[in-house]
């Protein structure tokens, strides 16, 4: 009974998870990986008009070790793909990938020899934002979706117990 409180569906584990999720969702530090036109819209979302800092994305970190959310804004070409994968691998768990723009989701307008047709061929994507380029409000909505997703995540409870928590 005592151990289940800690790593089962017990109250200490769930309360601890709530605390961890509360801390995580209030400070998603983005890694603004802006390659192309969507990078400019991401810049506008980070700037004064559509301030992303009010959601906690105060510190855009270009160092993958210190970032939570990788916002891929723009086309990834075949030449850039290994670099992108390396950056993704260097991020620490738990991490999230937001694929912003049509080029990142599926190659976009560029169905050519040198464009990667979607970053989900390389990395698991959590949130897709369609648009070419999507409005900055769409990026803010994606960040809010990330926050909702983090609320429901289970960083410490093992998967076999977290199934019992469906509905909480």
């Amino acid at each position: 009974m005592a151990t289940e409180a800690y790593n089962g569906g017990g109250w200490i584990a769930t309360k601890l998870e709530w605390l961890i999720n509360w801390g995580r969702k209030r400070s998603p530090w983005p890694l603004p990986y802006g390659t192309a036109c969507c990078g400019i819209e991401m810049m506008c979302a980070l700037a004064a008009g559509y301030d992303m800092a009010r959601f906690g994305a105060e510190r855009p970190s270009f160092s993958p070790r210190q970032a939570d959310v990788l916002i891929q804004a723009g086309t990834i070409t075949m030449k850039m793909a290994p670099v992108f994968k390396k950056i993704y691998d260097q991020m620490a768990e738990p991490k999230c990938v937001i694929s912003m723009g049509a080029c990142a989701c599926s190659g976009g307008v560029f169905r050519t020899y040198s464009t990667l047709q979607g970053i989900d061929k390389l990395v698991p994507v959590d949130i897709y934002i369609p648009g070419c380029p999507p409005r900055p409000e769409a990026l803010l909505q994606a960040l809010l979706m990330f926050i909702k997703k983090t609320e429901k995540s289970h960083p410490i409870i093992h998967k076999k117990y977290s199934d019992l928590l469906v509905g909480t």
Binding site: Y33, G34, T35, A36, C37, G39, I40, E41, M43, C44, A47, A48, G49, F62, G74, T75, T77, K79, M80, V83, F84, I87, V109, F110, R111, T112, Y113, S114, T115, C132, P133, R135
Partner: protein
Amino acid sequence: MNQNPTPQTGHETGDYVTVNIGPSHPAMHGTLRVITLTDGEYIIKADPEIGYLHRGVEKLGENLTYHQFIPITDRLNYCSAIPNNVSYEMAVEKLMGIEVPEKAQLIRVIMMELARIADHQVCVGILGVDLGAFTPFFYLIIQREEIYEIFEWFNGARLTNTFGRIGGVDADLPDDFEERWEELKPNVRKANEETEKLLTHNRIWMDRTIGVSAFSAEDALNWGFTGPCLRACGVKRDLRKDEPYCMYDKFDFEVPVGKNGDVFDRYKVRMIEMEQSIRIIDQAYKLYKEMPADAPLMARVPKTIKPPAGEVYSALESPNGELGFFVKSDGSANPYRIRIRPPCYMIYQAFPELVKGELIADLVACLSSLNVIAGELDR
């Protein structure tokens, strides 16, 4: 360099380090990579590597029709999409021998100059951010958002506005353009003034930008520079004055010219060009108001564009320099070859010369001042 013209003692040890300023780097404007060989902080050799955003635009053009290529041209210099569209349309119009009506030309001028202001705003803002001066970026971005509102309200899109059609423009300026413009104009001027107040006579800014990557006029011409970077070197060359297009010969504006070709001159040239663009828009709008309300906006163009076989080159002065399109047609509905002459391509190839002997921090300043847009560079 203005402080220490020669490396200090201890640096001639031959202890060279290769520093890779990789494609994913905050100062690298997207996807540029510079591999530098440094002796302490001084750069012995800098080797830029590009191609990380090569999307095959020219080959894509050979498989699309002439009209379908217009949205693709948006994505070249994405900070100011409209000059790209107009340059392509002008090349196809030249190939077909189409004469664009005057009202459409005036609308094109107004939109292109707004895009020029927007591009220079973001360039100067990012130059500030790279050197640590964050505040002007926020002032300028707010005004850029207002310009985006005008684009969205006229074109439908903020950033990648597929503006104009081959033969003219598709829609007229709405009636309340004048109020919007009169409201925007003083705000843009105010933001520019505040930026100048913060930067131009700022001791730190002057120390970091005057004398950095100075370039002589002959070298600039040899390397194929055009645009603000060439004007900063002292060469008075502006396609709007030298090879006028779209009724630019009817407007009265000045072309700013620098002296040393360093980062400070490039910044100053851009600030003055923004003011001149405001003047041009005023004059163009005055001419536009005198046009009759039912003047044509589009020339008579066939529904399927099939230019006669031939090849032309047409260029215009985009915010970065001479943006040219070479269009070769074989008589069918798809272009045979489209070649885009990007202005920052020619400028960036001289980068090793520009930063030789500078400090690594100066490399960042120099790169930022060249306004290298990867979409245009790699196509």
